[in-house]
């Protein structure tokens, strides 16, 4: 993917560039607001990752100009301001996602992936890559594994949907909480772990390792073949 990263903190910009390059993305880094704005108005970016506080122009100003000029490139805001009003403002100006520093790089990767998927629709194709023996019926929604129907609660469906549409991608707890439950804070109880456990019991083949792999300190990853 072609990514534009706008970040004025040199150290963070370096880390982002390295991590995203390692993922196989083509990364361009800009640190000045005006320069970044000029770059953002060009077509061809898959996703723009943009800091809000920048020298000479803010990320909010840049996206306003972009959306006014009908440039609909997906934008993820990175910011050191965690207030709800800033999140709301960023999203209402046309931002697609919002992350508060410090963030897990895996979460940024998952969000970039989610945004790029959105611009190329077609969930059915993603579900083509199902584990062996799995069958998913979209309407009515039904999962059967080896001919056995598996009953899933609505939130378990959302969870599974996220995993199936981001195969091999590490998903952080924060990302899952935000996408499945709409929660943007970290509850003290390990609610996500428990929900994953419950999901595993329903979908995992007995006697083999889990489809939902725990990546220590980072999150969870869906594995098709176990």
């Amino acid at each position: 993917m072609k990514l534009l990263v706008v970040e004025d903190d040199v150290e963070l910009a370096r880390q982002l560039e390295a991590e995203l390059r390692a993922e196989g993305h083509l990364v361009t880094v800009k640190s000045d607001g005006i320069e970044a704005g000029r770059e953002a108005l060009k077509l061809g970016w898959d996703v723009i990752v943009m800091d809000v506080q920048l020298p000479s122009a803010t990320g909010f100003q840049i996206i306003e100009v972009m959306r006014r000029k009908k440039i609909e490139t997906p934008v993820i805001f990175l910011t050191a301001r965690g207030d709800v009003k800033d999140r709301v403002r960023g999203l209402s100006l046309g931002g697609d996602d919002y992350m508060v520093k410090p963030f897990a790089i895996d979460e940024l990767k998952a969000r970039i992936h989610a945004l790029s998927r959105r611009s190329s629709p077609g969930k059915a194709e993603d579900y083509a890559q199902l584990p062996a023996g799995w069958k998913i019926n979209a309407f009515p929604r039904r999962l059967s594994i080896n001919g056995q129907d598996v009953a899933l609660a609505p939130r378990e469906w959302s969870l599974l949907d996220l995993f199936l549409s981001h195969p091999g991608q590490i998903m952080t707890k924060n990302f899952l909480l935000d996408r499945v439950w709409g929660i943007q804070f970290d509850p003290g109880t390990n609610v996500v772990d428990s929900m994953i456990c419950r999901l595993r019991k329903k979908v995992d083949p007995p006697g083999r390792s889990s489809h939902v792999e725990t990546v220590r300190g980072r999150g969870y990853r869906f594995q098709r073949d176990v």
Binding site: D9, I183, G188, M195, G217
Partner: protein, 476 residues
């Protein structure tokens, strides 16, 4: 326009309430007027009576002397002729007695039954010719002033004068005083109306504004200035100036907090990125474990920054709420679903109860969710395996209450006040219980920002009971 007139009506009803300063002022003015009236009445009566009295006596004295001289010089007929010529028949009486007490002349008022002179035989006259006085009250309230004098021939002359005319004159003066007082009283309505509209109304407006300032999230509101009363205007200006200062301090503080958060988060992000960077190169499980701990600590520190900022904003009621019309039932149902797996894992029964009918109300979903989650985190942390947690949504006419009851150790006696304070942990907390003691402060701050309240108590059957109560606006 309509709004304004409505306000004015409210103002007036407040102003005309008994006990308001308008009432007090009216009563005071009324009392002053009444006192003035009484004083003028009494003093004028006293002074006029006195002066009429002395005038009356002088008249009687003059006439007695005049008649006695005339009688002694010109005889009875001359006296009679002078009396008639004086045209005082309606208020003066004259009687002449000879030395033996026989009535020589007795002139009584016209059209009246013959006047019966009082019997004054027990008060003998001074032979030297000094006038002896007697006052005789009459049936109509007037007084007869009688002067008697011994004549040189041994007879007596009696002359009497009623003060009926004097009394009428006094009554006339009283009527004039009353008229003056009534007119003054009516004129007093002018200052009262002025007081109500130019002094009280601005004061009421200021009170309303001050109340709004107390409740409003931002400090942008200012007291209205009023040109009519220089003192009030000065007060409003001084008050507004101090508000400007408070606001600028508040803005500075907010900016400083944001700045601080920013300054802390950026280095945390750098550290986090670096740890993640080296973590992917690590193969030693001990090193990975340390790195994971470091990441967890960074996340905890960053959520601590946010929590402290949120609590501060909630306490100051300056939390910017993202209010949306939502169903509290949906909210608690979703949270219970989220926690169901964790409860199951801990072997704790999680039950959702609902009383009342579901409503749509305005609240900040994210904040309330966080507050309820904090209560549930707490309940799960303190409830032992095999215990129960009960979440209840109670909706009544004017409030929505979310209760969280657990079967844990409960709160110790001192806890209910202590636990809401920052960084305080209940006595049941052990070193392994997660949390840093900010959770309940955040619950209280969120409730406070929604103009609600949070509370805690011990259940009679054991365990703790926490609740968040949010007011329902009446129109909903």
């Amino acid at each position: 326009m309509w709004k304004q007139s409505e306000d004015a009506a409210t103002d007036f009803s407040v102003m005309s309430r008994p006990g308001s300063s308008l009432w007090k002022l009216s009563f005071m003015l009324l009392a002053v007027m009444a006192t003035a009236l009484l004083l003028m009445w009494a003093l004028s009566s006293w002074a006029l009576t006195r002066s009429f009295d002395s005038v009356g006596r002088a008249v009687v004295l003059d006439d007695i002397d005049e008649y006695s001289v005339l009688y002694e010089r010109d005889g009875l007929d001359a006296v009679k002729a002078l009396f008639v010529a004086g045209e005082h028949e309606h208020d003066q009486l004259l009687r002449l007695l000879d030395a033996q007490g026989k009535v020589l002349l007795n002139v009584t008022p016209d059209g009246q039954s013959p006047f019966v002179w009082p019997d004054l035989s027990k008060k003998p006259l001074d032979p030297s010719g000094v006038v002896a006085w007697h006052r005789e009250p009459e049936a109509d309230g007037s007084t007869l002033t009688i002067g008697r004098k011994r004549l040189r021939d041994g007879g007596e002359i009696w002359f009497a004068r009623t003060d009926r005319q004097d009394r009428e004159a006094i009554a006339e003066v009283h009527r004039l005083i009353l008229f003056a007082i009534v007119v003054t009283g009516l004129l007093l309505a002018g200052p009262l109306v002025w007081f109500a509209s130019r002094v009280l109304k601005p004061v009421r407006t200021m009170i309303t504004s001050a109340h709004q300032l107390k409740d409003e999230v931002n400090l942008a509101h200012r007291l209205p200035t009023t040109a009519a009363i220089p003192e009030l205007n000065e007060f409003a200006n001084a008050f507004n100036a101090s508000l400007d200062r408070v606001q600028s301090l508040n803005d500075e503080l907010e900016a400083a907090n944001d700045q601080l958060a920013h300054e802390l988060r950026t280095p945390l992000a750098r550290i986090r990125g670096n740890i993640e960077g080296v973590m992917s190169q690590m193969s030693d499980p001990v090193l990975v474990q340390s790195a994971v701990h470091a990441l967890e600590e960074i996340d905890r520190a960053s959520s601590l920054i946010q929590t402290i900022l949120t609590i501060r904003a909630g306490d100051a009621r300056s939390m910017r709420l993202e209010l949306k019309l939502e169903s509290p039932l949906t909210l608690v149902t979703e949270i219970c679903e989220l926690y169901s797996a964790s409860a199951e894992e801990k072997n704790v029964e999680l039950e959702l109860l609902f009383t009342g009918s579901d409503v749509q109300m305005l609240f900040d979903r994210q904040r309330i969710q966080q507050a309820v989650c904090n209560l549930l985190d707490n309940a799960l942390a303190y409830t032992p395996s095999g215990g129960q947690i009960e979440v209840e949504l109670e909706v009544d006419a004017d409030s929505v209450t979310i209760h969280v009851r657990d079967s844990g150790p409960g709160l110790s006696d001192t806890d209910p006040q202590r636990i809401w304070r920052r960084f305080m942990r209940g006595s049941a907390a052990s070193a392994s219980t997660p949390g840093i003691g900010l959770g309940l402060s955040l619950v209280a701050a969120v409730a406070n920002a929604h103009r609600g309240e949070a509370g805690a108590e011990n259940r009679s059957e054991g365990g703790a009971h926490f609740w968040i109560k949010l007011p329902l606006p009446q129109h909903q």
